[in-house]
């Protein structure tokens, strides 16, 4: 066979028919061509990565495989047999299992109930449940997929919920497992565990398709990789024979600077001074413990750490909206003046007036109102500014003109300020938030997870803007769980663990290994690099390449 996507893959058994073969698949939604003439061959027993920017058509392609959509054209072969996948039931019978990015679990059902849903053995539940219990035990032993079968889903961590999704597919005897952005919601340790599970599954002969936009994951775990760009399959290569730089270039269609080029920082006077900031939440849990740091004008302070170690609370307090019922103590000075940490004057509106901009961690909840138009979202926080007002009324024309101009400058696509925020892709939503905050020229910009769920093109753009703001002499606090982002953007790196700042490093003078130890709460005094004490999830090879 000489189909464009043909490969023998990293694993042997080249003589057997491919587990999945797609020939000339096309799918359009109205005028939008989501998939155009896609051919792909996935050999049995391999892990195959599909990488591409948001909106490149990866998810559409996989939805076609899972029977959610009918392709307009093209042919699907499973194990060499042509098959017409009319609905999900057919896909399941053909041995295809899917783990969606947003889990399809019933939150108040037990693990067992979720697993048998749709594949019950008869009209009564009891026999199905006891059979599933047995099968689950076997699968757990075979693949290290341990979950308590009687636990209710909402009590499980995200990582465990994902295991339930995988178990669901295996219980349906899936031989081909599709995972859509599986690590987006996982901590590094959980992601690491997931990869071990996937390797185990591959070694048992299962075929795995991994959809992601994270290059690191592709390089770490896949045997082959296919790149999608704007609905087309632009390349299929062996992972061992490619590099992250090449893949990134294929994804966006031009050279990408994975490492942000920036001049050395020229820090001036301190803008933000934080002293002994401590926060105890309503449940009495200490979330921040005597956090102290300075940020000077013209520098970026990066805060690294596994999520949930107090970064969110820090951003919320500095942004003026500490959690309800929280007790905050310590001192925060902005340009020399103390900021109130509770009560009057501690609100996000006052913080804006004090010159603090904020790109919040969760743009869909805190950064935007998803059902409001882009122009309204661009004005939020400044909607009562004199230039947007006509007496007591808002000057909507002025706001729209301003929004349109900002969308122009930040390359928000589509360039339609009347569109509701939810109709933009993740990257463009983030650009709307970034445009709103940066264009106000704040003295201090708080940034939480600036590029979570954002495609590579937009990441590059947002990074550039952040560096520009720094070069304009502003102070920037950058919180991110992506170590490579922290290392490439920051002028100084502080690591947070369990509400504490574990230490500060200069990006040029540290290693991912050292930061990994700090992120795991192992302090300098015990630090012996290359020791066996590196916890799972922050092992050297799990950290981003090119940053060590």
């Amino acid at each position: 066979m000489a189909a464009p996507g043909d490969m023998t893959g990293g694993r042997p058994d080249a003589a057997a028919p491919a587990a999945i073969e797609l020939r000339g698949i096309s799918k359009a939604f109205g005028p939008v061509q989501a998939n155009r003439d896609i051919s792909l061959s996935v050999p049995k027993g391999t892990i195959h990565g599909i990488i591409g920017e948001n909106g490149a058509g990866k998810s559409t392609l996989m939805s076609i495989l899972y029977g959610f959509y009918k392709p307009d054209e093209g042919e699907i072969l499973v194990n060499g047999q042509p098959i017409n996948i009319a609905d999900s039931q057919t896909a399941i019978r053909a041995g295809i299992g899917m783990v969606f990015q947003h889990f399809k679990l019933v939150q108040n059902f037990t693990v067992l109930e979720n697993i048998i849903l749709g594949v019950e053995d008869g009209a009564l539940l009891r026999p199905s449940l006891s059979k599933a219990r047995g099968v689950l035990k076997r699968l757990a032993a075979e693949y290290q997929l341990n979950v308590d079968p009687d636990e209710v889903i909402e009590n499980l961590s995200v990582g465990h919920q994902q295991r339930v999704e995988i178990l669901k597919a295996l219980y349906r005897q899936a031989d081909i497992l599709i995972l859509d952005e599986p690590t987006g919601v996982l901590t590094p340790a959980e992601a690491d565990h997931l990869f071990r599970i996937l390797e185990g599954l591959r070694d048992e002969g299962k075929t795995i398709i991994l959809i992601t936009h994270k290059l690191r994951e592709i390089m770490e775990i896949t045997d082959n990789v296919s790149v999608m760009r704007r609905g087309e399959m632009v390349a299929s290569v062996r992972t061992a024979e490619t590099s992250p730089e090449e893949l990134a270039e294929l994804m966006v269609g031009r050279k990408v600077l994975l490492n942000v080029s920036k001049a050395p920082a020229r820090p001036a006077a301190p803008v933000l001074e934080v002293r002994d900031l401590t926060m105890v939440d309503a449940d009495g849990v200490e979330r921040l413990r005597q956090v102290s740091f300075d940020i000077r004008a013209g520098e970026i302070l990066g805060i690294a750490g596994v999520s949930g170690n107090g970064q969110t609370q820090l951003l919320e307090i500095l942004g003026g909206y500490p959690e309800k019922g929280a007790r905050v103590s310590g001192e925060v000075r902005m340009n020399g003046a103390a900021l109130p940490l509770s009560g009057r004057g501690c609100d996000s509106r006052q913080r804006r007036r004090d010159g603090i901009g904020h790109i919040p961690e969760d743009r869909q909840v805190e950064g935007l109102i998803m059902d409001f138009a882009a122009w309204e979202n661009v004005a939020f926080g400044w909607h009562d500014a004199p230039e947007f007002s006509k007496g007591a009324l808002m000057d909507n024309d002025a706001i729209r003109r301003d929004a349109q101009a900002k969308m122009e400058r930040f390359d928000v696509r589509p360039r339609d300020c009347h569109l509701a925020a939810r109709n933009f892709s993740g990257g463009n939503q983030q650009k709307i938030v970034v445009a709103r905050e940066i264009e106000r020229n704040p003295d201090l910009l708080l940034i939480g997870q600036p590029t979570r769920g954002v495609d590579i093109g937009a990441i590059e753009f947002i990074h550039k803007r952040i560096v520009e703001l720094r070069d304009a002499g502003k102070a920037i606090l950058l919180v991110s769980v992506e170590l490579d982002e922290i290392l490439s953007l920051s002028d100084r790196v502080a690591v947070m663990f369990d509400g504490r700042i574990m230490g500060e490093r200069l990006p040029g003078q540290t290693t991912t290994g050292e930061l990994g130890l700090l992120m795991a709460g192992i302090t300098d005094t015990e630090n012996t690099p290359d020791s066996a004490g590196i916890p799972p999830g922050v092992t050297q090879d799990a950290l981003p390449e090119g940053s060590a």
Binding site: D87, Q89, T90, L105, L117, E120, G122, A123, L124, R126
Partner: protein, 342 residues
């Protein structure tokens, strides 16, 4: 559930009070009447339970019951058979359910608006057709004999009458109701069993919580929801037929008198669970029975006016709907038409 507990306590106290100031037979009579008054509420409550557990909110219970009461009474009068009336009642309510299903499942319309519309439709249509057919100001002619469901005596009821404790409970409380009362009581364990012990129940609950999970498992969300909505029609049909051919003898304009809404309140009170629904609707039935038996309840210290007694079920409804009974979490996908994601 603190407030619910105290409500129950107050109620038990009230019953004891009645027991003391009146006599035992009056109390028996009260509970007996409560069971009869509970029946339409219980059936409607379970009807709502199926629909809402599947994710389709239904504030049209009232309208469906009203429509069923009318069709049941009309057909029972014309044919002289309560059973044909029952079938007509079920058909009437299921026709309404079908409209609700088409509007809110197939066309993904707003479930509340569809429900409100059906309530208005039933209120108007029953009187209009009734007036046209019978010229009695919207009523149906009174039903007699086989056109009504008659009380049935359970086996051994007369024999067991004199046995202490069990005797009065069995012979006086349980025995002597119409067949539809037993259908309603039986529907409680059946609903529980269907919901928690069968494949259909699992899928029904799943589709009300997360329809995407059902869809990705290869099961039709639309078909499941339609089934649930039609079961809702079946049960409200029985409830309406009972109102017109069991509890009273014929159809009267607006005879449901808010029972559909009280059933909804009971459903929330019961947190969408069948056994709790029995308890909740019994509570409402009891309040109604007390109001009927003691229009001017003399509590010794003061006399409760009849208006207050009659208002009791509605007051309780307001208290429940205002959320004073603890956190009631409705099915998560309730009220949301299912749209497949990209």
């Amino acid at each position: 559930m603190k407030l619910a507990d105290s409500l129950t306590a107050i109620l038990i106290l009230a019953i004891c009070q009645i027991w003391l100031i009146a006599d035992q037979s009056a109390a028996m009579q009260g509970i007996n009447s409560a069971i009869r008054l509970m029946t339409p509420l219980l059936l409607a409550c379970l009807a709502g339970l199926y629909s809402e557990r599947a994710g389709v909110f239904d504030i049209g219970l009232e309208g469906k019951m009203l429509m069923a009461a009318f069709t049941a009474a009309s057909v029972a009068f014309v044919t002289g058979s309560a059973w044909l009336g029952l079938i007509a009642g079920i058909a009437g309510a299921m026709a309404m359910s079908l409209v609700h299903g088409v509007a809110s499942i197939t066309f993904r319309g707003n479930q509340l608006i569809s429900g409100v519309a059906l309530n208005f439709l039933a209120a108007g249509l029953t009187v209009l057709i009734g007036q046209n057919a019978f010229s009695l100001g919207g009523r149906t002619p009174p039903l007699q004999g086989d056109a009504r469901f008659q009380p049935i005596t359970l086996p051994f009821a007369p024999e067991l009458r004199e046995v202490p404790l069990i005797g009065p409970l069995y012979s006086q409380l349980l025995s002597g109701h119409t067949i539809l009362v037993y259908v309603a009581l039986l529907a409680v364990p059946v609903t529980w069993w269907v919901l928690f012990r069968t494949r259909f129940g699992l899928r029904l609950r799943a589709v009300g919580e997360n329809p995407a999970s059902v869809d990705t498992a290869g099961i039709s969300v639309t078909r499941l929801r339609f089934t649930a909505v039609m079961i809702c029609g079946l049960l409200t049909g029985i409830a309406g037929a009972y109102l017109a051919t069991g509890l009273s003898a014929g159809f009267v304009k607006d005879m449901t008198a808010g029972r559909g809404f009280i059933a909804l309140a009971a459903l929330i009170f019961a947190k969408w669970r069948p056994w709790q629904a029995l308890f909740a609707t019994f509570l409402f039935g009891l309040l109604e029975a007390i109001a009927n038996l003691y229009p001017n309840l003399d509590l010794g210290l003061f006399t409760v006016p009849s208006q207050f007694m009659n208002a009791l079920p509605y007051i309780l409804t307001v208290i429940i709907l205002a959320g004073f009974v603890g956190r009631a979490i409705p099915p998560r996908a309730g009220g949301e038409p299912y749209v497949k994601e990209r």
